[in-house]
Subunit: 131 residues, 2 copies
DNA sequence: CGGGATCCGGATGGATACTG
DNA sequence: CAGTATCCATCCGGATCCCG
């Protein structure tokens, strides 16, 4: 993992793809990023997340939190009060990761329209009869 | 899409997550990145890809290429020779995207071990009996 | 050679009812 | 409040056969 992945020609080897794919799979879940965003600013409670994420089910929120916690991207803190209280916070590692993801957003904003257009054109061509 | 997604406090809104997720889903396929890497250097033939990607099936290669083409990330060129010949090349847009993905690799290399460790610790704790 | 069509299994994600 | 358990729909990816 500490070896270089590019040679003098700038060519990239297969390991590169694996590394990228690995981190990608970690956050490519439908809700992972939403959770990361909301926990990056400090501790947030379960219900807070459930209400703010709009559309997420209890189950998916739990699963997402579990996976992120497992990977060390968020920390879970339980307050043993009478009505149980749990807060989640993104770790520094996660915040750093998120910064990189923001770089992707820049790309999305620059080329998003082009992608949409390309897609529309492609679909139109595919739907076009032989005529 | 051209609006800013962060306010003065640095807080991020929901649109941000959608934008990231959008581009993420585009390349999070199991083979997309592998194809992108190989086509970034110039035109590559279908069979070339099939042999170099090792483990990919004809179907998945086709599907991956189709999706990337649809999104305008690769261009497809058909040479109407007797045995049909087709070449694929990553577009500039795709190369730019790939550059951002490389940034994620840096993160993966820095924190990969930590993630693996965290995961192992988590699993060990989960497997531990009540004793 | 470069695909398309079909079938299939596993993983992913959603809805909801139940619980400490 | 913060989950867990269960059931179900969908999608992704693989294998295989067929076609121009």
């Amino acid at each position: 993992m500490s070896q270089r992945h590019t040679d003098v020609t700038g060519h990239v080897d297969e390991g590169q793809a694996c590394a990228i794919l690995d981190v990608l799979n970690r956050v490519s879940g439908k809700w992972s990023i939403a959770v990361l965003i909301r926990t990056a600013g400090g501790p947030v409670r379960f219900t807070e997340l459930e209400r703010s994420i709009e559309g997420i089910s209890r189950r998916m929120l739990t699963l997402t939190l579990r996976n992120l916690e497992r990977d060390g991207l968020i920390t879970r803190t339980v307050y043993p009060t009478v009505p149980a209280k749990v807060k989640y916070t993104a770790t520094d590692m996660a915040r750093e990761l998120y910064d990189h993801l923001v770089g992707l957003t820049a790309w999305a904003e620059r080329h998003g329209p082009a992608v949409v257009a390309s897609r529309a054109a492609y679909d139109r061509a595919a739907a076009a009869p032989a005529t």
